[in-house]
Symmetry: D2
Subunit: 427 residues, 4 copies
């Protein structure tokens, strides 16, 4: 396969995924196409529930929503040969290429999900001009379309050059990175329990084009919590004393959550991003829901914030004699990348003529790739999270987000080079 063909494929794939964006645990069309391509390339495939622990999927859409989307996927080009694996929303794939030569097991993690953002209809927005703007109300506004495409490009190169390689390669296509919901279920299913080296990657994030950050350490540990309160409704004029007011409990919870103390050991964050309560102006509100997110510089600090949050919610419910529920719908760890693997990546970047930065500690975002890195490190392996710089038309999660597609080939090739280099390391 020539470089030109690969470059064309990368753009074609990315634009296809961009046009048919699917949100977390609903990446059915995407996964079916990814599986089909990987199958054609000769990878051994593990799919769906085999690579995802159902008990550890967080914030997964309910059955109705899942079925509805399955119908959409069928009507919009999903590959019917693979759709059954993903039809219940377990949309993860692990693709294995075994050289059957001694060597390490090297994994690459790719995320596939889009965001519930309505893509720009501005005439200057490249996806519109070039005809691949989203056909639905979702949008690949974070670049996971590019990630999936790069993952397929890496697969193409690995397959083409299998004979030159040693060890075993695992490509992990993960659902639901947005909201840090999907990684944990794949880790719990054991997909990295044999992995020696793991590389997760992201494009953009403020890194300039032609730059590669080989290890990004700034991720905050995070928990995403859906909080709900259940009270008793009553007529606000006629018998207000019979109500048990869920709105007031939620309002108290929101304010006091935000007032959780700073921690002397490091950064914390707490946000109540949404609150919805009540069912009519003249009814004492019997329901309320909060979307909450905690963060900490370390997993311990995040755990501290989460524990305070639990007390506050329980106390607010008790104040108003309510029932309540706290559902964990997303989770990310903090982590420190392994210099052992980052240094290899940096070298590959420099070999490719790009600027390779070993380490960055910036950022107050969160990522669930940290679950993979942490699991690999815990078993004695090495993991890193790298960033491929690109030009952005607008920031991540913006309706006019777009990338420089040249980054696709750069990233696929550097990742392949890292695979080649790592595969020669004696276990």
């Amino acid at each position: 396969m020539s470089k030109e063909v690969l470059a064309q494929n990368l753009v074609k794939w990315r634009r296809d995924f961009h046009q048919y964006p699917e949100t977390g645990f609903l990446e059915m069309r995407t996964a079916s196409i990814v599986a089909s391509i990987l199958d054609d390339l000769g990878f051994e495939l593990q799919m769906g529930k085999k690579v995802m622990s159902a008990d550890h999927c967080m914030g997964k859409p309910n059955e109705t929503e899942t079925k509805k989307h399955l119908a959409w996927a069928k009507e919009n080009g999903a590959n019917a040969d693979y759709l059954d694996y993903f039809s219940e929303g377990y949309t993860g794939i692990v693709a294995i290429l075994d050289t059957h030569k001694s060597g390490p097991t090297i994994a690459y993690r790719v995320d596939m999900d889009a965001l519930p953002i309505y893509e720009s209809t501005s005439e200057n927005h490249a996806p519109l001009k070039k005809g691949f703007r989203s056909i639905n109300n979702n949008m690949h506004a974070c670049g996971h379309d590019a990630h999936t495409s790069i993952g397929l490009g890496l697969a193409s190169l690995l397959a083409a050059k299998k004979d030159e390689l040693r060890g075993k390669f695992k490509l992990i296509f993960q659902p639901a990175e947005e909201g840090t919901r999907g990684a944990k279920s794949m880790v719990e299913a054991g997909v990295v329990s044999d992995v020696d080296y793991l590389i997760a990657s992201h494009i953009g994030i403020g890194v300039p084009h032609n730059h590669v950050v080989a290890s990004n350490n700034g991720f905050l540990s995070t928990s995403k919590l859906d909080v709900s309160f259940k009270g008793v409704a009553s007529h606000a004029g006629g018998n207000p004393e019979e109500g048990k007011n869920a709105l007031l409990a939620a309002a108290n919870a929101a304010i006091n959550l935000t007032a959780i103390s700073r921690h002397s050991n490091g950064k914390t964050r707490i946000n109540v991003g949404e609150m919805h309560a009540g069912s009519g102006r003249n009814i004492i509100p019997d329901n309320a829901a909060l979307k909450v997110e905690t963060r900490g510089e370390t997993s311990e600090i995040n755990e501290y914030v989460k524990k305070q949050a639990e007390s506050i919610v329980a106390g607010a419910a008790a104040m108003y004699q309510l029932e309540y529920d706290i559902e964990l719908v997303g989770e990310g760890k903090s982590c420190t990348c392994s210099t052992e693997v980052a240094a290899v990546l940096q070298e590959c970047a420099q070999d490719a003529g790009l600027t390779g930065v070993l380490e960055s500690n910036e950022s107050a975002g969160s990522e669930d790739a940290t679950f993979f890195i942490d699991a690999v490190q815990k078993r004695g392996g090495y993991g890193t999270y790298c960033i491929f710089g690109t030009e952005l038309a607008a920031g991540h999660h913006n309706e006019r987000f777009d990338i420089n597609e040249d980054t696709l080939l750069q990233a696929a090739e550097i990742l392949f080079d890292s695979a080649a280099k790592l595969s020669t390391i004696e276990k």
Copy 2:
């Protein structure tokens, strides 16, 4: 017209309105049919903006919603001959019958709007069994379908017996009683500026079948307020300090609104019935909205609560450096009914073999018919609010609400009798 025919018409009308329920300021189909019937009966009609002050319509749907509903009305049996008068959502009607004999001007007020409640699909629910369950997501769960039908029955009787009567009769069909939004605009348009006697009526409200309460005095003065806060969004992990948090301001407002002091002069009520804020878990919320309602035993006491509420909202916005808005979307007065007209109604009820109660002071509800009564009393006339008891399948605003349709004829006849009696009083 025989009593049997009238009874059949009353049921037919009520069921038709029940099946096609329309919410406040959107009673286009209803009004067009009411107008057509009244026109046929020989009433002089004043419609739409002529009987409603646009400046005093509170909580009126916006143009988009209004146009959308107009299309619905056209497709669902509105009478095209009258629809133009109501197409912008000014759906009030005043129907006049002048005997051209000296005598007082006597008005009856009828409300026509439904509620945004999804009607029961239980097999035991009479409207379902009998085939007139709502065809849309609204429901006549407060009996205004019956009120409109009774108003038409009264009109039929007045028209039939015009020669026996003196003075002038005005039938006022009012939109948007729910939320106490519509009456003020008709009063401000002057529709009762010549009225000597005014009777507003309601069915049910806990009064037993075959009972009539001739004057109901317990209405609390009320204000309905839509409160909104506008802040600045920012990423909750990356730069939380750049946000201006509208959710927290609204939460503080909600709690402190509820904490407004009692008043030593009489009852107060305050409710924050709904709160909606934020646009994503990881975004500092830049928007928040509250649905608030205040009540007072007198208009002065309600004014006290409203004034405190305004301070609290302004202060909460200032705490978080936000812009805010308070929109008055509904209003009702307190009032004391005129015994002069209530006594006549009581007599009519007793003549009809029913139990007539002169006065009740129960209730902590609110009504905007009080605007009509107050205006008539202020010009030296007399007004009352009466209740026709009926059997209820479930309470008002319940999805299984239903009435005993026998009440329709009783009410129409007693109201007509009161008209006949009042018309003979020397001015």
Copy 3:
């Protein structure tokens, strides 16, 4: 004893008590003098713990404070012969006069305590001008000095005219009416378990001079609660996360207590009158205290408010992982006076040439005399709370409060007349 001598005694007593004011459960000097006078008049005395249930004294000062005041009393004219009965702060007295003729048992309740108010030093303030201004930091700013004096005047008349009377008389001198703390302990000790008629009285309260209100029904049921929170202190800069913040819990409790819902059955009140928290600017506060008071138009409604309050305090403590305590330090009931005894009082007032009003329902204050009235009514007797109008120099609890001393004789004589009249009623 001539009327002149009685009048002089009344003024002398009142001014003496006024000059040496003692707050609740510390009325040692007052009680010792009262006891001495009653003893001289021939009454049988029951004193201290004999007439007070220690378990039902609410908000009683601690031992240190009690001992300190005992020393004060000794130095300031307490009658040493009786002081032992009161030295632990059980300062109640029941004085019995038994005619040994058949007849009802008739009780009069008198309160003796002062307020922690610093009396005016204005030259125009009568107690200053006439030389009986308070010698300490307390003040009889509610008229209990007058009540005690009137009680002694009534005793003088009963003793003088014992031969004309029938039945048995009990004069109940109660401590700690302020804060509604003392009555319950005397009721629980059984002091009214044999009483057929009970009259409690107050001067002033807005009733004009020469007017008597024979029954005052407007008292709200009330509970006085001392709330405390106990957390963990830590340095606010160094390790804020180790603190458990009692100030924030108390602040939340205060706001949400005030937001307890109105009750559709009648008036409610809730006040957090004081809050004290924390021990230094740079310390996470580990302590907080609230002084709370609930009221309800009926005891049931007050119970509702109190129950909500308990949930709110418990929930606020749980939010911040604190220990908490709620101590009941005062209690008053609502009650309806017995017309049977009020009518007699009204007649006596009219016989004395004053304006006698049978009943008033005004007021949103609270009184623990209601415990006595309620207990008497429950055993089949009759009780009332009457008001003797007087001119006030300033309102109750004001530093310039003063009365028209002519009311002392009026009140003593009318109460005696009521005793005489009631004593002739056949049991």
Copy 4:
């Protein structure tokens, strides 16, 4: 003067100051004795208002308190010859020794104030055992007694070895470091406007005995705010609607202050350390006071927190229609010490056989010595804040705080050595 005599003096001075502790702006006895000793040593003295800007004294006690303490100082051994300079509470001293040889101006800053802490009465507490426990309710629980003593020891050495030195020396004895209240007024009075090198020092703070930290960079910028709210009182039962509730405003302020957002650029702290509100259980509270403290990793970040705090207080007051006041009663900056001077100190420590650490960035405390360092650096000079390790019997601000007195001589000698070294640097 022999080393032995110096060592004895250091202990004697420290114990004397320990026994007569004085809080901020009241260090009259202390200052008069310090002045007397420095005068005897031949220093030129500038005292009181000459070295303190009255406009920049923060949280200074009022006149009554100041006069009361003056009387105490007179009775407790103040040196009458110098007391006049300090009698109004301007208790700062600048002592100058000019060698009249060319060379830099080198300043040392010493703080003198104690804390309002009741010193331990435990038998094991050294000051008790050795007879120098505090005679009043204050305590030197932070070591400023030792600092003052060390300052006098340094003065003794400078005076003794004046001939060996070059340049000019300024010893700055500062009042009111606790609460970061006093430094700013001395800086504003210009006392360091000619200073080339400045060293501030502290003992203890967790640094081990025989260790010296030559520059401590971790101080947070801080503001100390006294917040008060003024409302309207009214009777909570009788006319609650007439009150304007200061307690509720303060409670809201306290909670929302604590909820001020984290800042992405660095550490923040916020604490409401005390709240006091209300004047009686049954009175709507018309007064409330908060003791607040903000901190930030940089002065900019602290300014952000303070600005949010001001909005929150203003908004809370507006919610309840109150007047309010925010008084700045203390202030500290963040700063970065000058390595130029720290390196000299480190060398002196090592020369003395101690462990010298160049730099520490630990701590989340605050200090107003930062005002001096900042001012010196701004004019092109160099400043540092150093720590002399010692054994502590208990942590700072603990009632059992005590030090190892051997540190006194070590510190005085190392500071003198630094003076000698720095004085030889060419300007």
